[in-house]
């Protein structure tokens, strides 16, 4: 019997490794090795064919480049939109959670942009913010024609337009996350607190929010990751990174460096910086979740 058991353990381990192999090979070949290559090439001057080792100087050179900081500033400015991209959906989720007749239809409508590509969203947004677009039409309709906007023609304005579009498209995802969270709420706690005379605001702050903690964290991570790594197509279609460097975020800057200018070394380096930013975010998230579990 013992022999059979040991045999079985052996078989299990062997099959286990065989079953793991395809995933490991695929992920290593197309993600693992390239990220290591990216680190290597980030220390070189590279045109895609020949790479010349330049060491740390690529980094120091880039850190002294004002354009690099201009690009990072754009990423920073995008972060300002994140509270809105979370609070608005939280409010919507609260309303949906009241389960007014027809709420499921509303939920479907709000979540719809999740299925739409950034290319399509970008194209419609382009028309919305254009000179003769709906935004100006609306302003005129409300008798505010003196605020004739041309957001896409100025650097800050264009970034603002990109942010607004980004917030619009995150509404669905974040609403669903919060709605899922609210389904897990323990209503008996609310009742008990109400019996004790707690106000609605107080109940929300002391009982609801702590229970939603995990969902708020998750929504935050998803929103930041999207802001930093998912907007390429939107920017590509809406502004092409311009005007000037007005809407060039780090991810777009990587593409521009490598595929418009042929400077693959700098592109690789910027990729490494983006990866480090995401890794810090991910590890921070894990650390927070761990500390809460214990």
């Amino acid at each position: 019997m013992k022999v059979i058991k040991r045999d079985l353990g052996h078989q299990r381990r062997r099959v286990g490794i065989i079953f793991m192999a395809p995933a490991l090979i695929l992920v290593s070949a197309f993600l693992g090795i390239p990220i290591i290559q990216a680190v290597y090439y980030s220390f070189t001057q590279w045109d895609g064919l020949t790479a010349v080792w330049t060491g740390i100087s690529t980094y120091t050179h880039e850190l002294r480049d004002p354009i690099f900081w201009r690009v990072l500033e754009n990423n920073g400015l995008l972060l300002i939109g994140i509270p809105v991209a979370m609070l608005l959906p939280m409010g919507i989720a609260f309303l949906l959670n009241e389960k007014v007749p027809g709420w499921k239809v509303f939920r479907t409508i709000y979540f719809l942009p999740t299925a739409i590509s950034w290319v399509v969203i970008g194209m419609v947004a382009l028309r919305f913010f254009a000179q003769e677009g709906l935004l100006n039409g609306l302003l005129k309709g409300f008798g505010l024609s003196f605020i004739h906007t041309d957001l896409l023609s100025s650097e800050k304005g264009a970034l603002f337009a990109v942010s607004l579009t980004f917030i619009w498209s995150m509404v669905g995802t974040n609403t669903i996350i919060f709605l899922t969270g609210m389904a897990t709420l323990d209503n008996s706690l609310n009742e008990a607190a109400r019996m004790d005379g707690a106000s609605n605001l107080r109940i929300f702050r002391s009982i609801t929010l702590p229970q939603l903690r995990r969902f708020i964290q998750f929504s935050f991570i998803i929103t930041v990751i999207s802001a930093f790594t998912a907007l390429f197509s939107l920017i590509f279609v809406m502004t092409g990174g311009g005007p000037g460097f007005g809407t060039t975020t780090l991810e777009f800057f990587i593409y521009q460096n490598a595929f418009s200018r042929g400077d693959f070394g700098t592109g690789a380096m910027l990729g490494v910086i983006l990866f480090l930013m995401m890794a810090v975010l991910g590890i921070g998230q894990l650390a927070i979740m761990r500390s809460k579990d214990e």
Partner: protein
């Protein structure tokens, strides 16, 4: 009291309707504009099919829809095979190395596409993967596999070990258990992965733009992106293209909404 409830409901209903208008307006705009000629869009009255005709001249729409389908199907097939096997291994065939594999897979979820795209692009060109569909298929598969594996691992963890032991006693091997028991039980998770990946890959621009060099193999989203970046300033044509490219993903969304939500919230954990 009842009246007060009714009023509250009415207010919520109105607010939600306003939000719905904001969310749905772009779709209305797309549909409405696509049925206008450029002149009608710029002010003239009426609707026409002209822009749809022009779209079919400007883009090989049928071919590109087919390309999108092939790329989606190929990548998703690879993701499914690889991630169900890995998930089964990580949950039911654990060894001392399992935690290391799991860490590697979860770690790969943190790698942004833009960080690996340059070396991956150069590698693919050396391997002649940029000419047909394969370059894009492999990249999409590799990008989708970490999360799919994560999802499958947590799903298979829910399968009771007793079930597996009983099957072993009946003389089934671990492979047979995988194909005869684990996979049939995992259909809901598999559907979630298909839906999630379909929408993601169908809607993607960057990978298709770089890894499919031959215009004949372009996906519809890339074709549309190229059209908008190119000379076409004919808005109704672009809107017709947008609408057409969005329909498959929207249809999948409407049918499989629940699975999509499950996939999205699976990352939160319990």
């Amino acid at each position: 009291m009842k009246l007060k409830m009714k009023r509250k409901e009415a207010i919520i209903f109105v607010v939600m309707t306003l939000f719905a208008v904001v969310m749905i307006y772009p779709f209305y705009f797309m549909i409405n504009t696509s049925f206008k000629s450029n002149a009608q869009f710029l002010g003239a009255k009426g609707h026409s099919m002209l822009s749809w005709h022009k779209l079919f001249q400007a883009l090989p729409v049928g071919r590109q829809l087919l390309n999108s389908t092939v790329v989606c199907a190929g990548s998703i097939a690879i993701i499914l095979v690889v991630s169900t096997m890995a998930g089964y291994s990580l949950s039911k065939l654990r060894s001392k190395l399992s935690w290391l594999f799991f860490l590697g897979i979860v770690g790969a979820m943190l790698i942004p596409l833009q960080s690996i795209i340059i070396p991956a692009y150069i590698n693919a060109s050396h391997l002649n993967l940029l000419t047909g569909y394969w370059g894009a298929i492999f990249i999409y598969a590799a990008l989708g596999t970490p999360f799919a594996t994560f999802l499958m691992t947590s799903y298979f963890r829910g399968l009771p070990d007793d079930l597996i032991e009983a099957a072993i006693c009946d003389g089934l091997s671990y492979r047979r258990i995988f194909s005869k028991i684990a996979i049939p039980l995992a259909i809901p998770a598999i559907v979630t992965i298909i839906v999630l990946q379909f929408i993601q890959i169908w809607d993607d621009l960057l990978v298709g733009l770089l890894f499919i060099q031959d215009p004949n193999y372009r996906t519809i989203t890339v074709g549309l992106g190229a059209l908008s970046a190119g000379r076409t300033t004919d808005i109704p044509v672009l809107m017709a293209g947008s609408l057409l490219s969005a329909i498959p993903a929207v249809a999948v969304y409407l049918i499989f909404q629940r699975q999509l939500v499950n996939g999205l919230t699976a990352g939160i954990g319990k």
